[in-house]
Assembly symmetry: C2
């Protein structure tokens, strides 16, 4: 095998770290909590960005860019927001270094202290709404539908590659609307864009739901989210869309002249997904052989490996492979030929399996004689010999099948690990095996907090598309409950 | 007129600021020296990014992402680099804020001081070479051809939108090679990619040249650049490509096993262009009516304005316009219909002229009767009536012509303002009118510095493709000179 990966059944956490680092997605940097996203990992992120950006533009949004720095005072303007975000963040206090007086290295110049400290954006609501104040005067300026691709920093104590890093990459949408109704509609539209992206591109089933009050974004009136189940049965919040009401408009005094000639505060939303999705992608599909990347996000969709023999005409094999590569590329399929001559083919196979390339095509001298090729699929680890003539058509179909199969497998897994439980003792016991628990809850933050303390499970969301909303009794307090919510331990 | 723009002949600097802000490209933010790139400006930047990124990939590069933060000690590792970059930069000293003891707002938590301060990257050579140390073991790992799209921060004292901002967006390529020759070849390849991009997409003629030693990048052995002339005759450095020798490999101890089995230090390059290109684009082509955007970078290539009449069938006009829009879009042309009913068409015309949209199509009731349309081009401000049937074909050709014409105009301007001067007194006098001055220089930093002190002109570059490299005598010292170099005042 190319590089040993720990079995996920033995040590799920180490398995994940092995995959991320050994498949060259990312690694820890010299800066505590910050990662380097390596070219192979970044290529997947670029594919995610491309599709998301397209979907944002198709829903009427435009991109812009706002400063990395937020004046410290801005963070205090929205009361709840400051509680949630002004704590652990990177603070710039000086703007100059100088040669150390002792001649060794450099030190911060004490004379270059900033009048007001600047915080590296943990999220940009404050600086953006401070800007919107000048952009929005009348209903004619609305809706304002802006997205930003950016890096943000939250000083996390415990970090894990992609899942929780001090600096991460994300997009943050910040929209302004005339009415409450339009803003709510936007909040829903964008959470559905995220759900569609997760399902269609990441092949990751997600549940669209509403956060409980305690789990809401700091400063939001309502937070919608998509939640996915990882293979250890834990939940991962993969995207959020917030209805911010008029909170930020009031904090930054953003009023507009209505059609009727009155002045009113603007209604707001914000929504974001981040490089955390990379972690979700890895944990949702991969196996003990390595990554399993859905074809729609795979930087390399087909890897082709020639089987060379000594003393024979290997050029013919290379020619055949080049030909097939060209036909595949003409069909919009990305192909890599691995003709490294210093490695055995078994080693190469393992390496591309580790990297999750959906399809492998192998051609040797026997295939040349028989006009065939060996085609292996990564998701099922099966292979078959196919006539070379129908190869391109076959692979086109196969990529679609693989994409669907990966989704279906993840969906079956989630379904098999989602339980309706009505008894708290049973809940606590079964929670140990992981999974989503559809339980009744009395709707109070107090009960939610108690359950969290006792079990480490949180309310992931109140599903929006839940047809099971029969009333019942809270598993914890026994008080009446209108509908079931999803409890799970989470990343 | 939509918004008044100062004439560039009256006040070039104010004209530039007017264009950037009134055409909605960018504005100053609440954070000193940092800009907000507005959606219209960002859409142009996205088009630049798209083409550059494609050209980088076509030349074998891949993207990655490295941390925003650089440990302070890293900056001191390369002796010259620290001189150039460790001075004015944003320094993070703390990682937490807390509620102010007096209950008013928030303050920096004195207990959350970082052990080692972090600098916001002014450029990423140090953090990247520290990473490459682990990536490069053998000649088989080379060449390593990586690019990064990122934000960087240099604490500038005097800032101007796009041209010099504290935070700016850029790309930085960082490559590693086996041999000096390959690294030099890469340095040249990338400066030529920049030149091609500037010429073909920005319609901006540039001179490819070598920087004098004093103007070199801090830590480079050789710096190549592209220099463009702005309409005030000043030079603007639009991109640089550096041959770094083994300086960073030595500073970060990056050695590789050669084919022959020895250990050797890796050879390096770095190269970058930034949002400064936006400033160059504005200053190279625009006029007193506003921006002139080359069609290949225009977010809107054609704006269509219906001329409504009261009490007539305006729906027919709208239908016609929608039809043409669709045909244009089918040809890959981006179109915007301006059917705002609260503005006069003269106002709309001015606004789209201000925003530099290459082509305007107007259709009124007379055009409906005659099956015609009025087509105006932004670069020449001319218009003509055309048969509707040939409109799409005509506009396709027109966009190509406009792209060429903008380039030709800029080239003629540069040629008309480039002078061979052999006399220092004449040089000083004519410098006041702006332009590029091809002069002999004795090759010493001392002379260069004297000329800079006395005239504010710097050596922009030693042109690479200069056929005029006859020997002569330095305009300042009278000493022998092998070739002419370009002197100019610069942004």
């Amino acid at each position: 095998m190319a590089k040993e990966v720990t079995n996920k059944e033995e040590n799920y956490s180490l398995w994940y770290n092995n995959l991320v680092t050994k498949a060259d997605l990312a690694e820890n940097s010299a800066v505590r909590g910050c990662m380097v996203i390596k070219p192979y990992g970044y290529a997947i992120w670029e594919k995610m960005q491309f599709q998301l950006d397209r979907m944002f533009k198709e829903t009427g949004h435009v991109n812009a860019y706002f400063p990395l720095f937020i004046p410290k005072s801005f963070l205090s303007k929205e009361a709840e927001h400051v509680e949630g975000f002004a704590k652990e963040c990177a603070v710039v206090t000086h703007h100059r270094l100088m040669a150390s007086p002792d001649g060794k290295g450099i030190v911060v110049d004490p004379d270059a202290r900033l009048e007001e400290e600047l915080v590296i954006r943990p999220t940009s609501e404050t600086i953006i709404w401070n800007t919107y104040k000048n952009w929005i005067k009348s209903y004619r300026d609305l809706p304002l539908l802006v997205n930003q691709w950016a890096n943000v920093v939250r000083w996390e104590m415990r970090t894990r590659l992609f899942l929780r890093t001090t600096e991460f990459l994300w997009q943050e949408g910040h929209t302004a609307h005339e009415t409450q109704g339009e803003a709510i509609e936007e909040t829903e539209r964008m959470v559905n864009v995220y759900a569609k992206f997760a399902r269609e591109y990441m092949a990751m089933p997600v549940i669209v739901g509403r956060k409980s009050e305690s789990e809401r974004f700091a400063g939001a009136v309502d937070t919608l989210c998509i939640e996915a189940m990882m293979q250890d049965g834990k939940a991962l919040q993969a995207g959020t869309s917030h209805f911010l009401g008029q909170n930020f408009a009031k904090a930054f005094d953003v009023q507009f002249a209505t059609k009727e000639g009155n002045l009113d505060y603007v209604w707001a939303t914000s929504w974001g997904v981040s490089t955390r999705l990379m972690g979700a992608l890895v944990m949702a599909h991969s196996d003990n052989n390595g990554l399993v990347i859905p074809p729609k996000l795979a930087p390399i969709q087909v890897v082709m490996v020639p089987l060379f023999k000594n003393d024979t005409d290997n050029n013919a094999i290379i020619d055949r492979i080049e030909q097939i590569k060209k036909s595949l590329e003409d069909s919009g399929i990305s192909v890599k030929i691995d003709s490294r001559d210093n490695l055995r083919s078994g080693f190469k196979f393992s390496e591309w399996e580790l990297k999750g390339v959906p399809v492998r095509v192998v051609i040797g001298s026997r295939d040349m004689e028989n006009n065939t090729a060996e085609v292996a699929r990564r998701d099922t680890m099966t292979k078959e010999i196919l006539p070379a003539a129908s190869l391109v058509e076959h692979i086109k179909t196969l990529l679609v099948q693989i994409q669907e199969n990966i989704y279906d497998k993840a969906l079956r897994f989630r379904e098999a690990n989602t339980f309706k439980v009505d008894n708290y003792i049973e809940f606590r016991e079964r929670l140990e095996e992981g999974g989503f628990f559809l339980c009744h809850w009395d709707g109070t933050a107090e009960t939610e907090e108690k359950i969290k303390e006792e079990t480490k499970a949180t309310i992931r969301c109140i599903p929006l598309d839940n047809n099971d909303d029969e009333p019942g009794f809270c598993i914890y307090s026994g008080k009446p409950s209108k509908r079931r919510v999803i409890f799970a331990r989470a990343y």
